[in-house]
């Protein structure tokens, strides 16, 4: 890893030290190796998928299914890319599929009179943390709503780019690999998303 990278990015990048040894052991089906890889990637993947889906319980299922898929398709991992990139690719694609399925289901349920959907629901669609430690509950709640709504205004593909490139700290090329799209597509999606997020959040945050 580049030493000159900002500390926050460095912290978010998956550990790569002896990973190839663990990957080889995982390929051989050793449970300890899978426990190690799960320990390394679960938390970051869960957070990423949760931000893309906007739903904690859906994210749990998606991450679990992603690990199962990786376990059962381990022979397909040739080592051409980092294991983390391959694993994230599975998870992000599963997340995008899950969001599309959920949207289709909501579309059909929307036609039913007793769908249980409340248009006036004020709870944010995203699970968000409080950005500042010394804020009142009301201010925290405002922050949560603002960030949650801004993220929810993006479509899932754009959210995925923001999450991988900005929040998780993957490079543009890695993000393109994970999303199976061109570098230019990543940049244009990110540009569009950042502009939109800044417009939506500017009134709440001076630093933007």
């Amino acid at each position: 890893m580049n030493q000159s990278e900002p500390e926050s990015v460095e912290k978010l990048q998956p550990v790569q030290d002896d990973e190839s040894a663990w990957v080889e052991k995982a390929r051989a089906g050793e449970p300890d190796a899978w426990a190690e890889l799960h320990g390394r990637y679960y938390a970051k993947m869960k957070a990423a998928v949760s931000h893309i889906c906007g739903d904690e319980s859906l994210a749990e299922d998606v991450v679990q299914e992603s690990f199962i898929k990786a376990y059962r398709q381990m022979e397909n991992f040739r080592g051409g890319s980092k294991f983390g990139t391959w694993l994230y690719r599975i998870a992000v694609n599963q997340a995008l599929d899950a969001v599309r399925k959920r949207s289709r289901m909501h579309f059909w349920l929307g036609w039913m009179p007793l769908s249980g959907h409340d248009e006036d629901d004020e709870s944010p669609p995203f699970q968000v943390a409080s950005p500042e430690g010394n804020l009142s509950d009301a201010e925290r709640s405002d922050h949560r709503r603002a960030i949650g709504r801004a993220m929810a205004s993006l479509d899932p593909e754009h959210r995925a780019v923001v999450e991988l490139r900005l929040v998780q700290g993957f490079s543009t090329d890695e993000t393109a690999k994970i999303l199976k799209c061109k570098r230019g597509t990543v940049l244009s999606r990110l540009y569009y998303s950042c502009r939109k997020l800044q417009q939506l959040l500017k009134k709440n945050y001076d630093e933007l």
């Binding site: 957070a47 960030i147 900005l166 933007l208």
Partner: protein
Amino acid sequence: MTNFEDFTRELEGEDEGKTSGSGLAGLRDLLRKGLSPEPSGQEQAWAWTRLQARLATPELIPGSFLWMRLAGWGAMAGLALVVGWATLGHPKDRLTVQVDPFHEEPSLYAVAFHSSEAHADVVWVGGYSDMQANDPIR
């Protein structure tokens, strides 16, 4: 953020460790702080236990999955038949209109149906007109 080229340059600059202090950096920090944090170790341990249980179960073979789906559709079709039978009744109970066998006599017609209440086939013949005793029989 002014235009796409500036944005790309700023992004590449940040990759090289040049902190710009611009809107992009501010947005990134805000999202990192504001979006939900990573799950706790307890949740991770629970997820690993759950995953181990799933990995211990045999994988569903795609072929068997197809058969399961076909069996499911078959069961649904069977259920639809049973419900239809119960709701609409036996096809015999339905009113059936038969073609007039005496089509050369347009005023004469016959209707046949099965009455489930009477447990009998009923033939209803209509269109007769009064006949004089001295009319010739055709």
